[in-house]
């Protein structure tokens, strides 16, 4: 509002002091530019333009100005106006011509009454600031690239359409699997969403169930009587109790324990396995020793803890000793020992081995000293203190004494000194004992050895003197000898046989079978190979005889034929059976056919009981109609008829003389002859007694499929799909129903709605085919 007033006032400003006014105006402008004004026009020229501008400014920024500002500006303005004084108002001359460029020559000074001086014009203009903005804007304009033309409407629409299409097609892609599934499905049942059969465990179903009928009432009363669970739980109270017996924590603890135990076990097992694999004998010896020591230690401990148990164990050892004594395991009577004994005289190693064995025996048979209780107990008591931890002793002591825990301290004081001394002494004593025992052992060994050697010598002497000893070992030896002899014999025999076979004389029994078979096979092959080579007559005749004579021979052939027949279906395939020498057959045919009657047939020679006469009779009766030649002729005719014929287009009389008796030139005929393509080989090419027509059954072909339907690219693919017959005649009723089930089944009275996006994953009809 303020501005407006200002403008009205400005109109009244006298023109004489234009510059001043201008300066004032500039001040005003500055004020106005506070609210961001950009005016690029020269305000000198016209106020109207200025007015318009300011109006615009006013329109734009009226609201922006604060009231305080307004007041101060107003004051300023008032001051300016007051300073103008009461001078006459100047009339401004307006330049009316439209000229975009202001020329210095065209500047009119009309109405100003003052001469415009060049200096004035040249004087620097104060208001550079406003021009700066203009420059900036110009720069900006220059820097900015030109905006391209907007697309034409059609193009715009097209691009929009394309984008939309892409988006939607992407959206639609998610239906692809469903569509595929539906297409592949053998049967679709609509509506697709069917209420699913509740697949709830029976327990849940039973919970919501209530007794309604009298029968049920009765049943439940019975159950109640017998205290069986009725509703929710399927466990009796006892079962529940058993379940509750162990708490969760307990169970966990127990489980952990078990786990640990198992782990430990596995470690030990692994270790044991590792050790077992070690091959070093020394290692194992050491191990054994260690073990025995341990066992001894344990035993001693046990002896201390509970002598009765220890005694029992000792008895067990004793048992082992007795067993060892009973057996002859480690004595010199074994086979091995005997064999070694012979060598022992000359070989030190074997002697040592025998010694070792004897020592073992001695060790095992050594009676363990069961120390007298009185002596031992004293020792024990003393020893125990050193070897065994104190507490154990104390525990044992505690049986008769007072509480060990109370005694502990002062006991310690007393026992410390002897415990330290005793073990060393013990050790010494033990080692001494061991030495003594070792010496004893050695002595014993020597003695025994002597006895042994004597025995051996005696035995050998005995053997020398009396070969017919009837002791068991000699018997055995004899047997062995016999066995050895037998073996030798058999070896010799074998060698002989081999030699013979090498020389070409076949051993009689086993190879004969192997040999005879191939011979039969060869014969068969010969038969097979011969057959086509023979002419028809021969075939017929020889087959007659052969069948009679060599049924056995033919049987395998027949079987083979049987097989081949069953294997090969189409006659064309069968023709591929390699049969050679067709030309020879053809050439021979005529020859033998001529000599047919003269050759005495096998049938006549061989044939059964009665009938030389009858055969001849028959032959005579049918002498006129030679069946076979007739047939051959027929076949040849058929072959000829089925052969594609060349077309001769040569005309007599063209290019040369024509008439009766004149032959067309060979070259000309060749030139006008259209050769027929070679026919495929006849089906009966290799079957001398058969004529198979080459004519196609056109009527049947009319019923055949003669196009390859869409997805198939090869004949056999399609044929595979139509091979199974569908009708009830060839199928069971159920199979028939399934084969002829409709592709789409709609339920009556149900609305078929399109698939919803949400249901896509769960529609069951894709997976389940109806069960017939």
């Amino acid at each position: 509002m303020g501005e407006y007033q200002l403008l009205t006032i400005m109109r009244k400003v006298p023109e004489n002091s234009s510059l001043r006014v201008l300066s004032h105006e500039e001040e005003v402008m500055d004020l106005l530019t506070d609210c961001q004004l950009s005016t690029s026009e020269d305000e000198n020229d016209n106020n109207d333009a200025y007015d318009g501008k300011v109006d615009g400014i006013d329109d734009k920024d009226g609201n922006n100005e604060g009231d305080n500002n307004n007041e101060s500006k107003h004051q300023k303005l008032l001051n300016v106006i007051c300073g103008l004084g009461g001078k006459k108002r100047l009339t401004l001359t307006e330049r009316s011509e439209a000229n975009p460029q202001v020329s210095e020559f065209g500047v009119s000074t009309e109405g100003t009454r003052e001469k415009l001086e060049l200096t004035e014009l040249l004087a620097p203009i104060k208001i550079s600031s406003s021009l700066g903005t203009v420059k900036k804007q110009l720069k900006n304009v220059k820097n900015k690239n030109t905006v391209e033309l907007p697309l034409s409407k059609e193009k715009n629409e097209q691009s929009l359409r394309e984008a939309a299409y892409n988006k939607i097609s992407q959206d639609m892609n998610k239906w692809d699997p469903i569509v595929m599934k539906n297409r592949r499905a053998a049967q679709l049942v609509f509506p697709l969403e069917q209420e699913q059969v509740l697949d709830v465990p029976i327990e849940e179903v039973l919970e919501g169930w209530k007794v309604s009928t009298p029968l049920e009432n009765k049943i439940f009363s019975l159950l109640h009587k017998n205290k069986r669970p009725v509703t929710s739980a399927f466990l009796t109270s006892e079962e529940k109790a058993s379940l509750k017996a162990m708490s969760l924590e307990e169970a966990k603890q127990r489980r952990a324990e078990l786990q640990k135990a198992r782990a430990l076990q596995s470690y030990f097992e692994a270790k044991a396995r590792r050790e077992k694999k070690v091959k070093s004998k020394r290692f194992h010896k050491m191990l054994k020793k260690k073990k025995t020591k341990e066992v001894l230690k344990q035993f001693e401990q046990l002896h201390k803890i509970s002598p009765t148990v220890a005694l029992e164990k000792l008895k067990k050892f004793e048992n082992a000793r007795i067993q060892e004594r009973m057996t002859l395991k480690h004595q010199n009577s074994g086979k091995w020992a005997k064999s070694k004994a012979i060598m022992a005289k000359y070989d030190l190693g074997t002697r040592k081995a025998i010694q070792e064995q004897l020592i073992k025996n001695w060790e095992l048979t050594q009676k363990l000293k069961v120390p007298s209780d009185s002596e031992h107990n004293e020792d024990d008591d003393e020893e125990d203190a050193g070897l065994v931890p104190a507490i154990v002793n104390e525990v044992q002591l505690s049986i008769d004494g007072p509480n060990p825990w109370m005694q502990k301290q002062h006991l310690n004081d007393t026992k410390n000194s002897p415990t330290q001394k005793k073990p060393a002494a013990n050790e010494v004593a033990e080692s001494e004992e061991e030495e003594a025992t070792a010496e004893g052992k050695l002595l014993l060994q020597e003695a025994e050895e002597r006895v042994f050697w004597k025995k051996v010598e005696q035995e050998s002497q005995k053997q020398k003197h009396t070969t017919t000893m009837t002791t068991a070992p000699t018997k055995m030896e004899k047997d062995e000898e016999v066995l050895v002899q037998l073996r030798d014999l058999s070896k010799q025999l074998n060698q002989k046989v081999k030699k013979k076979s090498r020389n070409g004389i076949h051993p009689v029994s086993p190879p004969s079978a192997t040999h005879s078979k191939p011979s039969i096979q060869r014969e068969e092959q010969a038969l097979l190979n011969d057959r086509p080579a023979r002419t028809l007559e021969e075939d017929l005749e020889v087959l007659d005889t052969e069948v009679g004579q060599e049924q056995e021979l033919l049987k395998p052939v027949m079987e083979r034929q049987h097989w081949t027949h069953s294997n090969q279906k189409s006659p064309q395939k069968m023709n591929e059976v390699p049969i050679t020498g067709l030309h020879t057959i053809i050439s021979m045919k005529a020859h033998i056919a001529n000599s047919f009657l003269s050759i005495p047939t096998f049938v006549e020679q061989e044939d059964c009981d009665e009938d030389k006469t009858q055969k001849q009779l028959i032959k005579e009766a049918f002498a006129g109609d030679d069946v076979i030649t007739d047939f051959q002729r027929e076949k040849r005719e058929a072959e000829k008829a089925s052969e594609p014929k060349d077309i001769d287009l040569s005309l007599p009389g063209w290019g040369q003389w024509g008439g009766p008796g004149l032959v067309i030139n060979a070259r000309k005929r060749r030139r006008f002859l259209i050769k027929a393509p070679k026919a495929s080989p006849r089906k009966d090419k290799y079957l001398p007694n058969v004529v198979i027509t080459e004519k196609r059954n056109v009527h049947a072909a009319a019923h055949q499929v003669n196009v390859l339907p869409f997805p198939f690219t090869h004949l056999n693919e399609f044929e595979q799909t139509i091979k199974t017959p569908v009708g009830t005649t060839w199928n069971t009723q159920r199979a028939f129903q399934k084969l002829t089930a409709p592709q789409v089944v709609t339920k009556l009275g149900h609305i078929i709605e399109p698939i919803k996006e949400n249901d896509v994953e769960f529609s069951p009809s894709h997976f389940d085919l109806p069960n017939l």
Binding site: Q561, V691, N716
Partner: protein
């Protein structure tokens, strides 16, 4: 198509399901193991010969008794089967398990704690399943599209499932085939009919009978497809049909004309009679319904039940197919081989076999005007032809006194042959592969020696002497009975183990009622197979017609002017600096071409190597123990 394997036994059939027409040496083990108990089938005769002393015992008690030896044998067999069964892997229906798996898991923890001792579907032995599988497994040679692979997988799954189901349903085939065993290697051919009739139960013994009809000349016969009814025709005009088990006569007439052959049509209500001049059709009351004048001087009749075709062979040398469901002649083929009087059908593929006087047998189908196959079988004329139920073997007998058995699966070569003193005038195969041959007034029956072996003509299984010369032979379906028409009437001979013990109640039910027959008739008519489909290999229909496929493609290429599926030929890239000169281009082209060629050659070489290796493996005899060949051997002659 006709007798394509029918593994089914329908679920709703209470009694028994029909079995796949097995060859009799196949898979008897499975059957036997299914029901080891000694149930005697009502329609199969189980006989073992006993000494004469047993003959004094009352008849009823004899049947249940069986010599210990045979029982022991049987039990051993069963043990074997059981053992083998244990060893076999067991297949189960995968699919069936899938949806139920969760439930099963849960069910295992029942409240009571009781568990199903046999959880899941019953296991089936792999061998049993294999028997019902129709195709070998598909071997993928190159990567396939997902869709293709899906389809193939679905197909194989289906196939496996159906075969497993069929194998499971085999349990319903409860009847065992009959058998006859001699004591201590005694020849069974010495056992006479009286002995057999004595040993079996009364019902079975009643199936052995003779009709003494000496007035009206040699008789021909035909059993209906259910095996319940019998039609007889004497050459001098006597025509009769009756329920031969109850001996209830349906009709008996004399047509006052020479009668050559008789045949039931699809059911026992209609039968065709080949009379001197025309073909006549009568109903079960003996009323003449039709006189087909287009079929004249018929000698032999055959009825193809699945196509409703009556095939007639005439004296004039024509083979005529008459569609009895619409009364139209489908085809009339000139055999060009003189008088036709030997005819039979192949029950596997409905091909008609004709025997000719020049020793050939020709195979015919109505769609082709010439014989599909012509086989030279005998040096004299062919006297009779028979084809077994599996369609694999053909037995022929000729004027050269030979009986031969031919393989019909492509090669048409004789498998066995035997010379008989008189030659067999009539031959017939039973459902389980026994071969009967009539020679003069003697009927011989051959069978395979031992399980799994092929029919042997060495020793007859049974022999029987008839009162007159044989004129017609046929085994009764689903019964252990051979019917023989001869010059003095008709005899029904017991042949243990001849018939299929289990019948398909929906297909040919001997006990069917009037209503059931009508229903069956409608169904059969609906499932009638067009006559054009008769072919040597009935499975051809399941294959793509390659020739027309190629033709179509050729035409398409012609139409378009280019092959849409062809691979573009190699085009060398344009290069600069003179490296794209014509010579260079050619060089580059040849380079690529040569590479391809080399690859091809390499592949073929590899294939050859493999083949040779295989051959070597096959051919190398076991290492000979003989001396090494000397270096001079190569100069030997």
């Amino acid at each position: 198509m006709e007798a394509a394997p029918k593994p089914s036994s329908k679920a709703q059939v209470k009694t028994k399901g029909k079995k796949q027409p097995l060859r009799y040496w196949e898979g008897k083990a499975d059957e036997a193991s299914l029901l080891p108990s000694s149930l005697t089938a009502p329609d199969s005769v189980i006989v073992t010969k006993r000494k004469r002393e047993d003959g004094t015992q009352p008849r009823g008690s004899q049947v249940s008794k069986r010599p210990k030896q045979t029982q022991r044998f049987k039990s051993k067999q069963n043990q074997k089967n059981l053992k083998s069964k244990h060893n076999q892997k067991h297949l189960q229906l995968k699919k069936d398990l899938r949806p139920n798996q969760k439930q099963e898991l849960r069910l295992n923890h029942t409240l009571s704690g009781a568990q199903d001792p046999f959880p899941g579907p019953a296991p089936v032995s792999e061998n049993a399943v294999k028997k019902f599988q129709r195709s070998s497994k598909f071997v993928k040679k190159h990567p396939l599209k997902f869709v293709t692979e899906d389809k193939l997988k679905a197909a194989t799954d289906e196939e496996e499932e159906t075969s497993v189901r069929a194998a499971q349903a085999e349990l319903l085939l409860s009847e065992e085939p009959g058998f006859l065993e001699g004591e201590d290697g005694e020849d069974t051919s010495t056992i006479c009919q009286a002995d057999i009739a004595e040993a079996v139960d009364i019902a079975s013994a009643a199936k052995h009978f003779d009709l003494n009809l000496h007035q009206f000349g040699p008789y021909r016969l035909n059993y209906s497809r259910t095996g319940r009814h019998l039609a007889l025709c004497g050459r001098r005009g006597h025509v009769a049909t009756f329920d031969w088990i109850t001996k209830k006569l349906m009709c008996e007439i004399n047509v006052m004309e020479a009668v050559r052959d008789i045949r039931f049509l699809h059911s026992e209500t209609l039968f065709a009679v080949a009379q001197k001049r025309w073909l006549h059709i009568y109903d079960n009351q003996g009323i003449e319904l039709h006189c087909v004048r287009r079929c004249d001087r018929i000698t032999r009749l055959e009825f193809l039940p699945f196509h409703f075709l009556l095939a007639t062979a005439s004296e004039t040398g024509f083979l005529t197919y008459l569609d009895v469901s619409v009364g139209k002649i489908v085809a009339s083929l000139a055999a060009r081989a003189g008088r036709l009087d030997v005819m039979t059908q192949n029950p596997y593929n409905a091909i008609i076999h004709l025997g000719h006087s020049n020793g050939t047998v020709s195979l015919w189908c109505p769609a082709v005007k010439e014989p599909l196959v012509k086989i030279l079988c005998h040096r004299g004329g062919v006297r009779s032809v028979a084809v077994d139920s599996s369609g694999m073997y053909m037995a022929t007998s000729g004027l050269d006194h030979q009986v031969k058995i031919f393989d019909l699966r492509g090669k048409f070569q004789p498998l066995t042959s035997r010379a008989l003193p008189q030659g067999a005038g009539h031959l017939a195969f039973s459902q389980r592969g026994l071969l009967a041959g009539g020679m003069g007034d003697v009927v011989n029956i051959w069978r395979a020696q031992g399980q799994g072996s092929f029919l042997s003509l060495d020793q007859p299984y049974l022999t029987h002497r008839l009162p007159g010369h044989v004129h017609g032979l046929q085994f009764c379906p689903f019964e252990d009975v051979l019917g023989a028409g001869h010059s003095r009437g008709f005899s029904s001979i017991l042949v243990p183990g001849a018939g299929e013990p289990n019948f398909d109640g929906l297909e040919s039910n001997p006990y069917r009622s009037h209503k059931q027959r009508q229903e069956w008739e409608v169904k059969a008519l609906l499932e009638k197979i067009p006559a054009e489909l008769i072919d040597l290999d009935p499975r051809n229909l399941g294959e793509i017609d390659v020739i027309s496929l190629e033709q179509k493609k050729k035409e398409q290429i012609e139409r378009l002017g280019f092959d849409p599926e062809a691979k573009a030929p190699f085009q060398p890239k344009q290069k600069k600096k003179g490296r794209s000169s014509t010579a260079n281009l050619v060089k580059r082209k040849t380079k690529v071409k040569d590479q391809k060629q080399r690859e091809k050659v390499r592949q073929s070489q590899q294939q050859q190597d493999q083949q040779q290796k295989k051959k070597k493996k096959k051919l190398t005899p076991p290492l000979s123990t003989g001396p090494l060949p000397s270096a001079l051997d190569r100069f030997k002659r």
